[in-house]
Every structure is written in C-alpha cells, then in structure tokens.
C-alpha cells in the first residue's frame, strides 16, 4: 500500500494536460472498480448468507427455539428489517468496525478473528518470502543451464508439484516429517489459548513447507521463462560480445528485466494464498482464518462467514491493484501512453 501512496504522491504535482499519467489513471480506474466490486460482493455475501431455506433464524437455531431467542437473533442479523435496510444497517455497522457477534462462540467477531488473522498473515508472509527466494534461485539455475538435465528435471518437478492438490501435499509432508520417516516437527499446529504462532515457531515449519511446495513452481516457471527471454535478447548478446562475465550478465542485465514477471507471480501467489490456505490450515488445524472460515461454514455462523468472505474479497481486490501498479513501476516502457 505504501508503494501506491508514494506513487500517487510523486505523480500528482506534475499536471500534464490531456495526457494523464498512465499509473495515476490506471490507479484511479482500478480503485473505482475495486471499490465497486467490494460493494457488489458485500451485497452478494449478505444476500447469500441469508437465503437459507425458510427463515434464516429458524434454520440456524432449529425448530425448538424459543420465540424470544428467535426475535433476538432476527434483530442481531438485521432480519427484522426489509432486506435493503437490513443490508444498509449491516454495512453501516461494519464500516464503523462492528462486525457483529459470533453465533457459536458468543464473542465479537473481530475479537475472535484478529489473533487468527495475525497467525494467517505470518503463514502467508513466511510462505511468500521462502517461495520467492527459492523460486528465483531455482529459476536462475535452470535458465543458466537451459536444456540440460538440471533444467529438464527441475521443470518436470515443478509441473508435478504444481499439479498436486494442497491437502495431499500437506498430508505427505505430515507423513514424512512428523509421523513416519522423521519425527522432527509436530503433526498439528494447535496452539494453547492466547498464544501466537511466533511463540512456537516449530509449529509453523510444516504448514509453510506444504504451501511452499504448492506455490514455488509458479515463481520458478515464470522466472525461468522471463530470464531465458531476457538472456536471448539482443542487448544481452551485445554485453556478451563485449566480454561481460556470466554473473554480470545475469545480475546486471537480465535480472532487472525479469523483475516485472516476478512481482506479478508473487502477487498471484499471495492472491492464491488468500483463499488456498483453508485446506492446508485444516490439515494442520492451524489457528488461522482459513480454518475459522471452514468452521464457521460448518456451524452456519453467519456473522463470521460474512466478515471473513468480505475481508478476503477486499484483500484479493486490493492486492490485485497493488500488483498491477508495482509491475508498472518496474517496467518504464509500459508506462508510456500508447
């Protein structure tokens, strides 16, 4: 986000008349559509969670519920109003930071989710860092030995790893590193009440490993392809003829041009992780938002479902915009008005 703000700040002071700056215009149009999509998604989520068969309150509480309890739940879910004003009062409360009270836990949704949000953020950030470094290094290795056995075996491994379902990878990881061959790490990542994942880093290792296996192939493929493209271009050939060393070729000439593709694929991976952690978190019973989402859907905890889905959609939409802007920032030629 800071990058985006800096970009607008840096560009704003130079008005250019008719030719608007491409980054600024992109940012404005993408932000507008982003906000619009979030609004539409929130309407869809609100409508979807309340289209239970019959009366939502009865469906949640069951047939034996007392009338007082039903009335209380109806007002809690804004069901005593018309659908439109119900949505509006729900959205108004959410904008003021009130996301309602969990139906199963009795706690406020925010208090329930906040620590899990931190745990998931740690998981996602750790995965993103490890997978990017690993993918870039392996991609560089494969690209510098194009069509050798190293390149071929890395590419096949990447294809296989990227095809595997996340929970199958996670189960294999548990089998190998926690149960059968080695017993180095705990098989589940359940935390005692009030503790965060950084208090027990050894419970973080296996979930991160599983996600890294799933996500790294994309970084690897993208980086390898863009590096090969850069290495076969004319300017690199000129540099080679002038006698530049291999490391200078790689780091000085080819790497800067592969940056855009890398940012794009890291952004994509983050997007994927926003939704994809649910499966891996379930395998490890990792106390994050993915597990919370699955649990809230199983229990039909409507306020929690609404909050989590809208939250994930917001993260998804804005991550997308940040990725696009970051790509434009590192590829000056694409900034030129066409």
């Amino acid at each position: 986000m800071t990058e985006v703000l800096q970009a607008t700040g840096a560009i704003a002071p130079q008005p250019k008349g008719k030719t608007a700056h491409p980054i600024r215009s992109l940012l404005i149009s993408r932000l507008a559509t982003g906000v619009l999509s979030v609004i539409v998604i929130s309407i869809v989520v609100y409508a979807a969670t309340l289209v239970l068969p019959g009366d939502a309150a009865t469906a949640i509480l069951g047939q034996q519920a007392t009338p007082e309890r039903l009335a209380q739940l109806r007002s809690q879910l804004h069901l005593d109003q018309s659908p439109v004003s119900g949505y509006l009062s729900w959205a108004k409360a959410a904008l003021h930071g009130d996301f309602g009270t969990s139906l199963t836990q009795g706690q406020r949704v925010w208090d329930l989710i906040a620590p899990r949000l931190a745990n998931s953020a740690v998981l996602i950030v750790a995965t993103a860092i490890v997978s990017t470094i690993l993918g870039v290094l392996l991609g560089m290795w494969a690209a510098s030995r194009k069509d050798s056995w190293v390149d071929h075996s890395l590419s096949v491994t990447a294809l296989v790893a990227s095809s595997l379902p996340e929970f199958v990878v996670a189960v294999f990881v548990v089998m190998i590193f926690a149960v059968t061959v080695f017993t180095w790490f705990p098989a589940v990542s359940i935390l005692p009440e009030g503790e965060h994942i950084w208090d027990e880093p050894n419970k973080l290792v296996l979930p991160v490993l599983a996600l890294v296996i799933v996500v790294t192939p994309y970084v690897f493929r993208m980086f390898r392809a863009s590096l090969i493209e850069a290495l076969s271009s004319d300017y690199v050939e000129v540099a080679t003829l002038k006698g530049a060393s291999t490391s200078r070729l790689l780091f000085g000439h080819a790497l800067p041009n592969s940056l855009a593709a890398t940012i794009q694929v890291v952004g994509l991976n983050l997007l994927y992780l926003a939704g994809g952690i649910a499966l891996v978190e379930t395998v490890f019973q990792y106390p994050g938002i993915g597990l919370a989402l699955v649990a809230s859907i199983t229990d039909r905890d409507v306020p929690t479902i609404q909050f989590l889905v809208v939250l994930l959609a917001i993260a998804y939409v804005f991550l997308n915009i940040v990725t696009d802007v970051a790509v434009l920032l590192v590829t000056p030629r694409r900034r030129l008005p066409r």
């Binding site: 559509t33 999509s37 979030v38 539409v40 998604i41 869809v44 989520v45 979807a48 969670t49 289209v51 239970l52 068969p53 590419s155 294809l159 296989v160 990227s162 095809s163 595997l164 379902p165 996340e166 929970f167 199958v168 189960v171 294999f172 548990v174 089998m175 149960v179 059968t180 098989a187 994309y218 493929r221 993208m222 392809a225 090969i228 794009q264 694929v265 994509l268 997007l271 994927y272 926003a274 939704g275 994809g276 649910a278 499966l279 379930t282 395998v283 989402l293 699955v294 859907i297 199983t298 039909r300 479902i305 889905v309 994930l312 959609a313 998804y316 939409v317 997308n320 990725t323 696009d324």
Partner: protein, 311 residues
C-alpha cells in the same frame, strides 16, 4: 420443409467436420509428446481403477470389518480405517463419484463459459458490459472461498456442489473465450455472414465456434484438472460426499488421526488423488503446448492464471 432446409444444410455439415478435425489434430499432437502419453496413462490408470473398482469383489465399503486402524494382514490388504472399515474396499468404491462430478461440472462450466464469453464478444455493448463485469466480480472472490460461500447457503448437497464448481470455473473459461473470440468476431467472414442476415445464434454456433476449438480444447483440459482438485478439496473439508459413503478426499480427512498406526487409510487415497491430479494436469499441459506451441505453451498454466486475475 425441404426447400427451406436445403440452403441451411451446407454450413451444418461443414461446422462439425471442421470442429472434429481441429480437436483430433490437437489430441493427436498431444499424444505424440512424451508428456501427453505419460499424462494420459496416469489419468487412465486412476480412472480405470475408479470405475472398475466397484465391480471388483471386495469387502463392504461401509460395514465394519475389524478393529479400527488395524494393520494390513488377516485378509484385508490395506488394513482398516478409523471406524474399522476395510480401506481397500473404500478406495475401490470411493473414486467414481469424484470423477463423475468433476466431469459434469467441467462440461457445464466450459459450455456456460464459452457461450457467455463468445456472446459477450459478438454482441458488444450492454451484453458485453454485463457479462464481463459479472465475470470480474466472481473472479474477485478467491475460488475456494466462493464455492464455500455457495455451499454455506444451503448445505452440502451434491447438485449444489456441481453448481458451485461450475459457477466458479465458468468465469475463467468466459474470460479466455472472450479474449479469443474478440479477434474472430472482427474477421470479414463473420461480418459477411452477419450481413447475409443469418441470425446471431447461427453465426455464433456455425461460424465463430469452429474457429475457437483450439482454446476450447485447452480450457477443457485445464478446467478438468482444476475441478478434480477443487472437488477433492471440498470432499476433504467435509462439504462434498457425506459419510459413510466412501470418497478419497473424505478418507484422507477421516483417517488423518491414525497416521501413526495404519497410514494406508490416508496414503492410498492420497496417492491416487496425486496420480490423478498430476496425470490430468500433465495432459492438459501437453494439449496447451501443442495448441499454442513450444515456450509459450510451457507457461500456459501461469499465463492463464495471470489473465484470470489481472483484468
């Protein structure tokens, strides 16, 4: 009847012939590559096992046959699961629903997505805006979260699962087909046919669709492998096939706690799912390579994913 049927019949005959030719060419090309052969072999191995499995004489898949988590031996090849049911029998019976649901939802998603994308490209104006903006909005929710949201509305029903997977895959197909169709719709032969007064539906079906069989075939492959992974994942989370019915995803979840005692309850379905996912994905990759050629084909997985998330 005969007089009106005659002028229409030539395009009817031409369309399908052209279409079958293109698909056959891509399939043959994919099968000539090592990846295509390996992918198809792996896929057929698991598909064969899943569909022949229920007819193989074995113990009951839902009745208790021994002590929970007992090890292989004593007449049961892979031991028993968390409730003491025979693992081998459950593995043999637990594959076909997944494959059937994945095939149905892929077919529906490709059909719906292709129609939506091509109609949007051909019609333009309001139709285009409405279709493509709805596609954007569906794609702005993470796939798995979207399916979970739909499932949370009514509960885990089989038809709902198919519908959810279809609705979440269709926008991706729509976006690819829209991009491919835009170019075709501007071609002279399409405009000429439209000027002849041929109704839009016929123009799309007889004249635009046959030119789009290549991206369509690739999308079928990609979507099938995504659908399999998605449905298996939903089964694993408990939102698909309901116990006591056997399903590989459900088995992985049920027997997770017994990993240290009898790991076959998890390992057998997990290995089959892994082989199936790798097989379909490798085959889809081979299709994409043949369809779009060499280096470009190699990045298809990443590139299509890119096209899908960045608008």
């Amino acid at each position: 009847m005969t007089t009106t049927a005659e002028p229409v019949s030539p395009p009817i005959e031409q369309g399908p012939v052209k279409r079958r030719g293109a698909v056959r060419r891509i399939l043959r090309g994919a099968l000539a590559t090592r990846r295509g052969q390996v992918g198809l072999a792996l896929t057929l191995l698991v598909v064969g096992l899943a569909f022949i499995g229920p007819f193989v004489p074995s113990r009951s898949a839902t009745e208790f046959s021994g002590v929970p988590y007992s090890l292989p031996g004593n007449g049961s090849v892979l031991g028993t699961d968390a409730l003491g049911r025979d693992v081998l029998a459950r593995v043999l019976h637990g594959g076909w629903t997944l494959l059937l649901l994945a095939a149905i939802s892929t077919a529906l998603a490709v059909l719906l997505g292709a129609v939506a994308g091509v109609v949007a490209a051909y019609r333009g104006r309001v139709t285009e805006t409405v279709i493509m903006r709805s596609v954007d909005i569906v794609l702005a929710i993470p796939q798995l979260v979207f399916v979970l949201l739909i499932v949370s509305v009514i509960g885990a029903k089989t038809w709902l699962l198919v519908l959810a997977v279809t609705l979440c895959q269709a926008p991706q197909v729509a976006r690819v087909m829209y991009a491919s169709a835009q170019d075709i719709c501007e071609r002279d032969f399409v405009k000429a046919v439209a000027l002849w007064g041929v109704p839009p539906r016929t123009v799309i079906r007889r004249h635009i669709m046959p030119s789009l069989t290549t991206p369509l075939a690739v999308e079928c492959g990609l979507r099938l492998s995504f659908s399999i992974i998605l449905i298996a994942g939903l089964n694993f989370l408990g939102f698909g096939t309901q116990p006591p019915n056997p399903s590989w995803g459900v088995m992985v979840n049920e027997n997770r706690l017994g990993l240290a005692t009898n790991y076959w309850g998890v390992l057998a379905p997990a290995i089959l799912l892994a082989i199936l996912a790798v097989g379909t994905n490798v085959f889809a990759d081979a299709l994409a390579r043949v369809a779009f050629g060499g280096e470009r084909g190699e990045e298809t997985a990443a590139v299509t994913a890119l096209e899908l998330t960045t608008s």
